[in-house]
């Protein structure tokens, strides 16, 4: 769906068409869900967070200046919600069992366990999510926006409000850091 179509739906929503809102949710729900799911890792938290993001978008639509930029605006809103929720969960010790906060520590193998068995036991996607969640905030967000949401460098630069060159350099650093974190697991993959 093009920016033009999205802008039309936003206009309709402004005029009180709630079906337009449902349509917008259907367009963006998978992307927002994947973003929150990877950001906070927990499914229930991610669901609650995704719902909160859309509720906030509905209630604060008046702050959106350009209807065609709804997608970028929604991502900004989503990242703000994600950051706040992540901080709150971290304060509560939600992520304390992961030991992934140290970027120099790759995901460890359990003692006496072969990598193959560990791969069987652990869900690879979860391991990747855990590794992403433990990354520094900006690098994590650039990685999610580029490699999960497949946004362009320009879009990422606009959403995060950082220069294009910074997006590129931080993205490379984030990708290399993620590779290092997942190295042991990946080395044993066929």
């Amino acid at each position: 769906m093009s920016e033009h179509d999205v802008a039309g739906l936003v206009r309709a929503l402004r005029q009180g068409d709630n079906q337009a809102f449902n349509q917008l949710v259907r367009i963006y729900q998978a992307r927002i869900w994947n973003l929150t799911r990877t950001y906070v890792k927990d499914e229930e938290e991610a669901k609650d967070l995704s719902q909160d993001i859309f509720v906030t978008a509905y209630r604060s639509l008046g702050h959106l200046r350009d209807d065609a930029k709804f997608g970028a605006w929604l991502y900004q809103l989503a990242l703000n919600h994600c950051r706040n929720r992540y901080k709150r969960l971290k304060r509560r010790g939600f992520f304390s069992n992961l030991s992934l906060d140290d970027p120099d520590n790759p995901i460890p193998l359990s003692q006496g366990e072969t990598p193959e068995r560990q791969l069987e036991r652990r869900n690879v996607n979860e391991a990747v999510r855990n590794a992403i969640a433990a990354m520094p905030e900006t690098e994590k967000e650039i990685l999610l926006l580029r490699d999960l949401q497949e946004l362009s460098y320009e879009e990422i630069s606009a959403i995060l409000g950082i220069p294009l060159g910074t997006v590129k350099s931080k993205l490379n650093r984030a990708r290399l850091a993620l590779k290092e974190r997942l190295k042991k697991m990946l080395e044993y993959q066929p």
């Binding site: 869900w33 509905y58 997942l182």
Partner: protein
């Protein structure tokens, strides 16, 4: 010749097709000749390949109904406002009067029955501050109220300036005597002179004298059976004070 780390810094640009043909050729040539960088490149692409699986995770089916349910609930600030609006802060006049009466009764009870507690040290200090009010019926110099009094310097500091004309005298011993007749001062002065003490009237109500500690028993004799308060109370200890050759005594009649 570029370092391996420099080549690895180009991985993202290479993956995203951002390298110039020359840069791409340079990197590919390096990857073909450097097994370490080739392995890093393999892991790099493998890592990013996992995003495809994450990307296609379908959202939960109840996401949209949940959004509608949350939208139907008023926002937090609106709920708070409604809650505040629902509270009734008004009160009838009898209820208000009863509340004030109960509060006053409770305050009165606490004032009458719950005096502030004093620690043992505070009791001694309080006693020394109140020393002039303590009338000792016995003519002997004794301790005040059974408590050991403070040491002499502290006693001086704690002593209230009861007699303005004594402020600059700093007596070692201060005695307040209950006068029985208007002529008590000359009689007392005479009793002292008879015992070879050398008193002199510092004011119409105050006698001052200097004497060695050994002459304290003579002073007691001169004071007779009058009611008095002695400060500091340690004066009654035999040989008080050990470190002084002479004592300045101030006696005030009241």
């Amino acid at each position: 010749m570029r370092e391996c780390s420099e080549h690895q810094a180009c991985f993202t640009a290479h993956l995203d097709g951002e390298l110039t043909p020359a840069e791409r050729h340079d990197l590919e040539a390096h990857l073909a000749s450097c097994p370490r960088c080739a392995d890093e490149w393999r892991l790099f692409t493998l890592t990013l390949g996992h995003f495809a699986a994450l990307r296609h995770t379908p959202p939960p089916p109840d996401l949209l109904p949940g959004i509608h349910a949350k939208l139907e609930r008023p926002p937090f600030w609106a709920r708070l406002r409604d809650l505040a609006a629902g509270l009734d802060f008004s009160m009838s006049l009898p209820a208000a009067a009863a509340t004030v009466a109960v509060a006053m009764a409770v305050g009165f009870f606490f004032k009458m029955h719950l005096q502030p507690l004093e620690l043992p040290g505070q009791v001694a200090q309080t006693a020394s501050r109140r020393a002039p009010a303590m009338i000792i019926p016995d003519s002997r110099l004794t301790t005040v109220n059974g408590h050991p009094g403070p040491a002499l310097p502290q006693a001086r500091a704690a002593h209230p300036p009861m007699v303005p004309e004594l402020d600059d005298l700093h007596p070692d011993i201060f005695i307040t005597v209950q006068a029985e007749t208007p002529h008590d001062l000359p009689l007392l002065q005479q009793a002292m002179e008879e015992r070879h003490l050398a008193p002199y009237a510092a004011s119409p109500h105050v006698i001052r004298l200097r004497l060695p500690p050994d002459d304290l028993p003579l002073l007691r004799e001169a004071l007779g059976n009058r009611q008095m308060v002695v400060f500091p109370p340690e004066t009654v200890i035999s040989g008080y004070p050990h470190h002084k050759d002479s004592l300045l005594v101030a006696i005030r009649l009241q």
